[in-house]
């Protein structure tokens, strides 16, 4: 699944560690999500959406034609 987490994080001026601390997860988890190695659970996806004050679908989306 694609995401625009790096862009949103840059927009807010947060490091990966800062975002991780706000979400209560490890920095490795943020790295794994940003590099699309890991798709977060729904609760974590909603927590990310809350932190950025955006709807989930504005942060996570599918590539056109992709089922993932």
């Amino acid at each position: 699944m694609k995401n625009n987490l790096p862009a949103l994080r840059a927009e807010h001026g947060w490091t990966q560690a800062e975002l991780a601390a706000r979400l209560g997860v490890s920095r490795q988890t943020i790295i794994a999500i940003e590099t699309e190695r890991y798709d977060p659970s729904l609760p974590l996806a909603f927590a990310i959406a809350d932190v950025f004050k955006r709807p989930v679908e504005a942060i996570f989306f599918r590539e056109r034609g992709s089922r993932k």
Binding site: Q16, A20, S26, Q28, T29, I31, E34, P40
Partner: protein, 132 residues
């Protein structure tokens, strides 16, 4: 539960786990030596039982790391555990037939030592995860 910085946690865990694994290998070597070389007695008993403590400590350290980890860390630990179990299972199966061809009969602790390095490798790989 308080969020734990993953790298600190893993470093702590690897330090614990790495030493316990080293201790396990030493204890295993001592146990094999005692089994093959010593007469029955208290020293032989102690040496043969010695791998149990570091072996259980490795399992305990893994459980602690799992409980403290977030969802991604927990998933990675489960994958590493599954891979280690798979390697152990395959090696057990293979050696069972190799042994039938005349290779020496070994303790199950022998195949156990093949699974843990796989687990350790997966954890080191995870710890080295960097931004691309």
């Amino acid at each position: 539960m308080e969020p734990v910085e993953f790298r600190l946690l893993l470093r702590f865990w690897l330090r614990q786990f790495g030493w316990w694994f080293f201790a396990y290998l030493l204890a295993y070597a001592a146990a094999m030596w005692a089994l093959l070389s010593l007469e029955a007695g208290p020293l032989r008993t102690v040496l043969v039982l010695s791998p149990i403590t570091p072996g259980l400590a490795m399992v305990f350290a893994t459980v602690v790391a799992y409980r403290r980890g977030d969802e991604f860390v927990q998933r990675e630990i489960l994958i590493a555990t599954a891979m280690a179990a798979l390697v152990t299972a395959v090696w057990t199966l293979v050696y069972a037939y190799v042994e039938a061809l005349g290779f020496p009969h070994v303790n199950v602790g022998f195949v156990h030592t093949f699974g843990w390095p796989v687990f350790l490798w997966r954890m080191v790989r995870l710890m080295r995860l960097r931004e691309e």
